[in-house]
Symmetry: C2
Subunit: 275 residues, 2 copies
DNA sequence: CCGTCACCTTGATCTGGATCAATTCTCCTC
DNA sequence: GAGGAGAATTGATCCAGATCAAGGTGACGG
């Protein structure tokens, strides 16, 4: 199986053989599969090993006093569910499986060893954490300043690009195991309204949603509809690595980014110089 | 001057003399004062030194296509504005001064040295970062699942407790330099509505807001109004350190937390054991 | 002491999205 | 292939919060 964690972190920097082997070793740890709807980690739990999503789709969610649930972030293959393990006593939210989901269970000590032994991998993990925060901030903007249509379009754009990065898809289609109920929990809208917005996006010819697969028919218009700017994902290397990835992240990456990268080599060197 | 960074991190763990001295050294770096309204760091900027808020109030914000602004997080004394410096090419959002704000400018290398030399301080920084993420997630819940009244009450509770932790206040009053416009940007509501909700909270005898100072008259009812549960701040040591801090964080810390901490000493030891 | 500028407050009206209430699709299971 | 249960859709109505439109209020500089 390909290693989504390595694919993701390669957005940040290139790895040598040893680093790559270490990442592959992490992803090859014993895995566990959770059925759609299952709670992977519950709020209040103190986890001993770090869950790396290998396949499927999970979400960070919190159960509300009224029994409802708010989804705060989606976890696609390559994402780590609980890096807080090192320092926090207990999870302050749930991790739930949106699709049938397989996670590698990486002993915390294995990551800690990595952190003391490779400063490049440490930086990569730090990058991943910072990017996760940026995604959370983008969700705050969604909810605070974007209407239903923008919000949904934004989430679709983000999922597409994140799936592409880890090679789950290479065209404009991606798995969409979410039920409307879950899209409701993620967007803070009602199912009736989510349904109507989806209809509208379909009617406008922006997307097709069938059999739990979304196909984006018009990337540019969907981006515009969601005010989508991928800068916050900090895909430093997308346009430099190889044509394959370029295709994958495709035109969702902003043009300004391309320009920035023209002469970014020495910048990167200086950032990573302390290696 | 007291060191708000040390006060904050002491919520996570106790430090020895050397560690404490290092934290004090960081806070004693050359500082810069920004006037209310100034942009401390602009989106797209590549910062060389890390900004630690010493006094005042700042915010993470993003400027929207329509010219508006969304505030995503508040930065109180003790908060670091830009730990992403190590790994990201450029800031993906602005840091703006809400009040006149003083920041210590800590050279990135100084933090990096700390990370290689003290695993306890590394963990403390990691804790701080994880807690910041938890605060972002709480803001998503605010916007996705709480109405105007709950949202504002929640933010007030959070600011009070965060100010208490770093010793800015020791009673139920705290500086509130926000103009209603900024509360609007943080809550995603309109100024008219924010105004009405504030009136209501005043009329109900929950708060007094005068001369840029909020006084919480009824902590319990305000907590209830905002569905406030401080667990997400992970104030591990609040109840154990000394009566002073206990007073400071006060009854905003949930009771379940107290119980959890009864026999948490060995848990903490195991977490920090690798020191 | 007067203008003015930024902020706060209040009232009237409007609307995006919520709520309530059926119906129609899927699948799935037996 | 009948029966059901979760999911998607559609229509009708409602409401929290937006928008529009005036006033107040207070802190200044001249």
């Amino acid at each position: 199986m390909t290693n989504p964690l390595a694919l993701k972190l390669e957005q940040f920097t290139r790895f040598d053989g040893a680093e790559r082997a270490r990442l592959d070793f992490l992803a090859a740890q014993p895995s566990k599969t959770y059925a759609r709807g299952a709670t992977i980690i519950a709020e209040g739990e103190k986890v001993a090993s770090i869950h790396l999503v290998l396949e499927g789709l999970a979400a960070r969610a919190k159960t509300l006093p009224d029994g409802g649930r708010q989804i705060m972030a989606f976890l696609v293959p390559g994402d780590l569910c609980d890096v807080e393990v090192f320092v926090l006593e207990a999870m302050d939210h749930d991790i739930v499986a949106i699709a049938d989901t397989t996670c590698a269970l990486i002993p915390a000590a294995m990551i800690e060893d990595m952190l003391t032994e490779s400063s490049k991998l440490t930086k990569a993990l730090w990058w991943s954490t910072m990017t996760d925060s940026a995604v959370l901030r983008e969700r705050i903007i969604d909810h605070g300043s974007r209407n239903a249509r923008e919000r949904i379009a934004h989430i679709l754009c983000e999922l597409l690009i994140r799936y592409r990065i880890v090679g789950v898809t290479s065209d404009a289609s991606f798995p969409f195991p979410l039920t409307q109920k879950e899209l409701v929990q993620a967007t803070g809208l009602t199912s009736v309204h989510v349904n109507r917005v989806l209809q509208q996006l379909r009617a406008e010819g922006l997307i097709v949603l069938k059999n739990r697969v979304v196909t984006v028919l018009d990337t540019h218009r969907l981006k515009a509809a969601g005010q989508y700017e991928a800068r916050y994902l900090h895909l430093t290397r997308t346009e430099r690595r190889d044509p394959g990835v370029s295709d994958r992240a495709g035109d969702l990456v902003p043009a300004t980014h391309h320009r920035l990268l023209q002469d970014a080599t020495h910048t990167l060197k200086s950032i990573l110089g302390r290696n």
